[in-house]
């Protein structure tokens, strides 16, 4: 198995093939590779892409934003990928963080990662909300949303992530809902699944968050809606429970070096 830089020239085709066996955030991978290719690595069996990892460097931290592998990929290959990425990140102080499932936890720990917070994967498959008022609708369709993203995201992460969000995270399928107290971005992972990411609200903005929840379910509710949410925050988990999201796999936000300065009270969707 060859492990090295991702092959940009064939990446789109490689991802199309890989998508047949995995649910991928394909556009995020492509965008990350386009804007940030020095931190995108792949594992290839002959010419076939079997696993990949990528990271995005911010001023104060590094976010490992993609880690995908086929089920048959060995632990050794995963380890080689992660090692290659961490060596290339080459940071001893900056916080490096990543959301992982329980199976990946040990691998991360072997590289010196610690748990920052537990998360849950949640999934909505309940159909559309219909009792959705005109006033509510108008209040969450803010035209001038960039300052709202910039301000709220910075308060939450202590990073200027605007460039990353607008260039790498935004897709043609993006739906952005916002109020003065936060923003919610959702996009299609594939024909059936919508992912809520990121969704950032100021603390104690429960009513506004509920409006955005109703908004996304109205707009996207005929498809499944997937999100990763902090498991310890009752306000957030109760909101998802009240809209009949199923609570699935446990995840953990893990970090290496400095502890991330993310205010998880503000994270409604990672």
């Amino acid at each position: 198995m060859f492990v090295g830089w991702i092959r940009k020239s064939s990446l789109k085709t490689d991802l199309d093939l890989l998508e047949k066996s995995l649910i991928l955030d394909k556009n995020l991978i492509l965008n990350t590779a386009f804007y940030n290719e020095q931190l995108c690595f792949g594992a290839y069996e002959d010419e076939s892409l079997e696993a990949l990892i990528s990271a995005y460097v911010f001023k104060e931290s590094v976010f490992i934003n993609n880690f995908y592998y086929k089920t048959e990929v060995s632990k050794e290959v995963k380890k080689r990928l992660l090692k290659l990425l961490i060596e290339n990140i080459n940071e001893e102080k900056k916080s490096i963080y990543m959301l992982v499932n329980q199976k990946e936890k040990k691998l991360l720990e072997s590289f010196g990662f610690s748990t920052f917070a537990s998360f849950r994967q949640v999934l909505y498959k309940g159909g559309a909300v219909f009792n959705f008022t005109n006033a509510m609708s108008k209040s969450i369709h803010t035209q001038n949303y960039l300052p709202i993203i910039s301000q709220n995201d910075f308060t939450c992460t202590q990073e200027n992530r605007l460039d990353y969000i607008t260039k790498s995270v935004f897709k043609t399928s993006s739906l952005l809902l916002s109020s003065s107290n936060g923003y919610q971005h959702s996009y299609a992972l594939n024909q059936n699944i919508i992912k809520l990411s990121p969704w950032i609200m100021q603390e104690f903005s429960f009513d506004e968050a509920e409006k955005l929840m109703r908004g996304v379910i109205y707009h996207r509710g005929l498809k499944k809606i997937l999100a990763y949410i902090p498991a310890f925050n009752d306000e957030i988990t109760n909101l998802y429970r009240s809209y009949k999201f199923e609570f699935l796999e446990e995840f953990e936000l893990m970090y290496k070096n400095e502890k991330p300065k993310i205010n998880l009270e503000m994270v409604y969707g990672f």
């Binding site: 559309a128 006033a135 109205y218 005929l222």
Partner: protein
């Protein structure tokens, strides 16, 4: 607070002698959203390809409010709706004995069986389902209870209580809707007709009795005498029930004139909310009061609905009106002279059946 589910583009268009083209439908849908409609019911997909194309175009506007289609509770109707891509459907069933006999030969079991199969498919597709109870106002309440209970058990989300032939009085409406909402089975939606001129009143009374949504049509357009009017229900909910709305008077005027032109219906000058003369104060006592306080004889301001206040110089005008108009054109009138010309003004207006304009008053004053 109750939602407005506007059905101008479905039940409104069912008014006799009315047909909207695609361009009109798109403009009306957009204006309805801008004016504060919470949900729109926009067509009957089973009607044919053109209706379905129109519905798809409305959906393509991507208005951020729910869009619904109307269907009989039969599979062919639902399939036509699914083809359009709507997220919500009204599935209509007859619930009065008269219509049950006409449409199902009185066979209630068949009705329930049909409803079950269609609702189940709709729910499987993730649709919001409103069960439309046609002629509910003439149905027996115990049977309606049975329908609501059954509809809830198969996954329906709302029940539309239709006063299909407009026979309800407000008091009866309150009694019936209070009973149905007290069952706590499904949210109730009011669908009222205006055969006795009570459509808006019955819709609002339904809200007072616990209904969660109201069907409306702009200018009350609809079958026979029409439906509860959008503009009346909207203003009532905002002013009488403090519904949260950002009223845009300019858009409301545009909506009303668009529907009026598209439907070829003229608007009476005294039509509530939108009539040209509803802020015209002629009688002396009222004008005198309005001069002292603008709240004296108006339920809401003309600005809130894009209208103008007027004090016509007519048969019932008093000296306050004449003073007002003469002062407006730069004359400081004497009380004696006003007293003198007042009977003349009344005589002129009575004879010619037309009010005086300010210039005519000026000439009359100066020449007297």
């Amino acid at each position: 607070m109750a939602l407005i589910n506007d059905t101008t583009l479905r039940d409104g268009e069912q008014a006799p002698y009315v047909a909207f083209n695609t361009k009109e439908k798109l403009l009306i849908a957009k204006l309805l959203y801008e004016c504060g409609a919470d949900e729109l019911e926009v067509g009957i997909p089973i009607m044919g390809e053109k209706e379905r194309e129109d519905l798809k175009e409305i959906l393509a506007l991507d208005l951020p409010i729910p869009i619904m289609s109307w269907n009989r509770a039969v599979m062919s109707d639902l399939e036509a709706s699914l083809e359009c891509g709507v997220k919500a459907v009204d599935l209509s069933i007859p619930v009065s004995q008269i219509l049950l006999d006409v449409k199902f030969g009185g066979n209630k079991e068949k009705l329930f069986k049909n409803l079950e199969s269609v609702v189940q498919v709709a729910k499987k597709e993730g649709l919001f389902v409103c069960v439309g109870g046609e002629d509910a106002s003439r149905a027996e309440l115990p049977f309606l209870r049975e329908v609501l209970k059954f509809a809830r058990s198969i996954g329906a989300d709302r029940f539309r209580y239709c006063d299909t032939v407009g026979t309800l009085s407000p008091h009866k409406t309150y009694e019936n809707i209070s009973y149905l909402t007290s069952l706590q089975l499904l949210d109730i939606e009011m669908h009222t007709h205006n055969d006795f001129g009570m459509a808006t009143a019955n819709a609002i009374v339904g809200v007072e009795a616990g209904a969660k949504s109201v069907n409306t049509t702009v200018i009350g357009l609809g079958e026979r005498a029409g439906n509860a009017s959008f503009e009346q229900v909207l203003m009532s909910l905002v002013y009488q029930f403090q519904k949260e709305k950002n009223l845009d008077s300019k858009k409301l005027r545009e909506l009303v004139s668009t529907v009026s032109l598209a439907a070829k219906k003229t608007i009476d000058t005294n039509q509530p909310i939108i009539g040209e003369h509803i802020f015209a104060h002629e009688s002396g006592i009222h004008v005198n009061g309005m001069m002292k306080s603008k709240n004296a004889y108006e339920a809401f301001t003309p600005e809130s609905v894009g209208a103008l206040r007027d004090f016509p110089i007519g048969k019932h005008s008093g000296s306050s009106t004449l003073f007002f108009h003469l002062q407006q054109i730069g004359i400081t009138p004497s009380k004696e002279k006003i007293e003198k010309i007042l009977p003349i003004v009344r005589e002129i207006v009575t004879c010619r059946k037309q009010v005086l304009n300010a210039n005519e008053l000026k000439e009359l004053y100066l020449c007297s």
